[in-house]
């Protein structure tokens, strides 16, 4: 039957039609996200523990307890350090790799794939792999380092080295993603600008980078900074599988703290309050991202 003769069902043309079509998505949003969110937010204002008595409304008491909790303070500090390590390195690595790949003629697709692979791999599985790679006795990395005459430590068990080690894994898994955005940005560098700087400058790569490429990539860079911050804030897999917050709480990060409070210590209200704060931070960053994207579009 020709397309023109397809009958539009009567119900679609009623006022309720569009709402009916939106309904499945809205239902999922409500059931899976909004209701749980509301319950979490509500729980944060009670003294409810999993398995405890009926909840009592306690106002901001839970938040006060949370802010005074030493583990929470450690988790906030560790998360901040983790983000501070991962975000700049991810961005710089992504940019550097993208610049190199964009310059190499043949094999671009191959290199792009190699560097992007960590981003698509399941981080939980990769965590196990990294744990083995870094294992002090049998791991490949310490063995190679020993062959080269270094004395590798037991990083994952060292309170000073554990967080940077996890950060390194985080960078490894995120840089490819950042690279992809930079590569896309590099594709749109105006050709005539590149030629203009070849004539105006002294023909060096630095001139081209400084005056053409990097300014052109500025909006992409802000975007990459924001999303890699959000990703770094959400670090969990590596911590849960490799270090379990240790050693000596050196890798106790925000999400692992929430997980522990909720499911090991059953201080459900504290976990809920921490979640509310966490969501607030992520939301704020998302707003920054939205603002930056809108700024980029209006230029």
């Amino acid at each position: 039957m020709p397309a023109a003769e397809v009958q539009v069902p009567r119900w679609r043309e009623t006022v309720a039609g569009p709402y009916l079509m939106l309904a499945p998505a809205v239902l999922l949003l409500v059931v899976m996200i909004l209701v749980p969110l509301a319950l979490v937010a509500a729980t944060a204002f009670t003294d409810w523990h999993l398995g405890g008595g009926p909840p009592q409304f306690v106002g901001f008491e839970t938040f006060r307890t949370l802010l005074e909790d030493q583990d929470f303070q450690i988790a906030v500090w560790n998360t901040t350090r983790y983000v501070g390590l991962v975000v700049p390195a991810t961005t710089l690595m992504g940019l550097a790799v993208a610049l190199l790949i964009a310059e190499c003629g043949r094999g671009q697709a191959l290199y792009r794939m190699i560097f992007f692979l960590p981003s698509v791999a399941t981080l939980a599985a990769m965590s196990v792999a990294w744990q083995m790679l870094l294992s002090p006795s049998v791991g490949a990395v310490p063995q190679v380092l020993r062959l080269l005459g270094f004395a590798p430590g037991n990083w994952l068990q060292d309170p000073h080295a554990a967080l940077p080690a996890l950060a390194m894994i985080g960078i490894w898994s995120e840089a490819g993603f950042a690279m992809l955005f930079f590569l896309a940005g590099l594709k749109t560098v105006p050709h005539e600008l590149v030629e203009a700087i070849a004539l105006d400058g002294r023909g060096s790569v630095v001139d081209r980078l400084w005056h053409v490429t990097l300014p052109h990539l500025a909006p992409v860079t802000v975007f990459v900074l924001v999303f890699s911050s959000i990703h770094a804030l959400r670090v969990f897999d590596t911590v849960a599988i490799i270090t379990r917050g240790g050693p000596e709480k050196a890798t106790l990060v925000a999400l692992y703290f929430i997980y522990q409070e909720a499911f090991s210590l059953f201080r459900t209200n504290l976990a809920a309050a921490a979640t509310v704060l966490f969501i607030a931070v992520v939301l704020a960053l998302s707003l920054v991202q939205l603002y930056v994207m809108r700024l980029g579009r209006s230029r």
Partner: protein
């Protein structure tokens, strides 16, 4: 650099070849641009004119041949070392830099070290400070000459099209290049602004006295502003000459067809036993010096086609198919009496005196027509009287 001897041209391209893949894009190009001259590279898209310009700029390498700018052979030099200035089609201003920063960039890149440029605001070196002052003065000077002092601190997005063009020209001219290359700088403008921008470029070029190569596919533009025009067809310079030479005295049928709006009328003809040319009912009294029976193409500009009201029997009768009134003059499209295929276009000051369907007698003065052999090369045609005189 050594002193410039007399007779040194601003640009001299010799025997340049260039091919991409298997296809030759440029073949045996020679081109000379005198000091202070505007030379247009005119041709349809794909004729190689932009490639030639890019080879001159150093953005593309020729397979063979030399490029000399002033007294210097620059064939092997990178673009930045050639001392050429270029205005791109998109103008290619750095979008994040102000007009002033755009104009000063070529100077800063040349006179300051990278560290000095980066740490410029800290004012660490006294030598760098004095260079910065010189650069500022140079930029102020050029901005004044281009009349953009008031807007020079704006970023390109906040400038008008004309101001942007001036900033682009300022950036090109600020370092006293001997040669200014313009790659279709007007093609993105609409018709009215275009003429204005074109005049502005000529004015600025004359004021600065810099030699200029101007790439365009618009023949009106090329004829209007150039001292010389290089008509490029199929990767070769088909003809090099003044605008008048290109228009009145084309060396080949292809050039004659490419230059002029509307396109030159071309009639198929043949030489008869007495040596005269017969074409579409017209008899042209010329001597081409080729054997009888040979085919020739007779090309005649619309302004040379004469429409007469008289009853001169020797003139063929054509029917007016269509009138195009341009105000100051008009075009009369003429077809055969049967009204079939369009035959000729005539330019007439009083086009409106005719009506479609009118039958008119038309003549082509033999001395105004151009004659081309079958291979498209020009045949010298002497009017009979002169030919007879020449024979004595």
């Amino acid at each position: 650099m050594r002193s410039v001897g007399a007779g040194v041209s601003a640009l001299s391209v010799r025997g340049v070849f260039k091919s991409f893949g298997s296809g030759a894009v440029l073949a045996d190009i020679d081109l000379t641009v005198g000091e202070g001259e505007i030379v247009s590279l005119l041709g349809p898209s794909g004729c190689g004119k932009s490639t030639l310009l890019r080879i001159v700029a150093g953005l593309e390498q020729a397979d063979r041949g030399t490029v000399q700018i002033g007294p210097r052979d620059v064939s092997g030099l990178p673009p930045g070392a050639r001392n050429v200035a270029m205005v791109f089609q998109s103008l290619a201003l750095y979008p994040h830099l102000s007009g002033r920063q755009n104009i000063s960039l070529p100077l800063r890149a040349r006179r300051l070290t990278r560290l000095q440029r980066l740490l410029g605001p800290l004012r660490l070196w006294s030598s760098a400070r004095s260079i910065e002052r010189e650069i500022d003065a140079a930029v102020d000077d050029i901005a004044a000459r281009l009349d953009i002092e008031g807007v020079i601190d704006r970023v390109p997005a906040r400038l008008s099209g004309g101001q942007r063009q001036r900033v682009a020209i300022g950036r090109a001219l600020v370092r006293d290049s001997r040669l200014l290359l313009l790659d279709e700088p007007l093609s993105s403008l609409d018709a009215k602004v275009r003429v204005q921008a074109r005049d502005e470029i000529v004015q600025i070029q004359r004021a600065f006295g810099v030699a200029c190569v101007f790439v365009t596919h618009d023949q009106g533009e090329a004829l209007a502003i150039s001292d010389h025009v290089a008509v490029m067809l199929g990767g070769r310079v088909a003809q090099f000459g003044t605008p008048a030479e290109i228009y009145r005295d084309p060396v080949s049928l292809a050039v004659a067809r490419f230059v002029g709006t509307p396109t030159i009328n071309v009639l198929d003809g043949a030489v008869d036993a007495s040596g005269r040319v017969h074409a579409a009912g017209f008899v042209l009294d010329v001597r081409l010096g080729i054997p009888a029976g040979q085919k020739v193409s007779v090309a005649v500009r619309p302004e040379h086609v004469r429409i007469a009201a008289g009853q001169d029997e020797s003139r063929p009768v054509l029917r007016v198919a269509r009138i195009e009134d341009h105000g100051h003059d008009g075009l009369v499209h003429l077809a055969g009496r049967d009204g079939k295929a369009a035959l000729l276009v005539a330019r007439a000051g009083r086009a409106l005196a005719f009506q479609p369907g009118d039958e008119v007698r038309v003549s082509i003065p033999a001395e105004d027509a151009l004659y081309f052999s079958e291979d498209g090369s020009r045949l010298a045609g002497l009017p009979v009287a002169i030919a007879a005189y020449a024979r004595g």
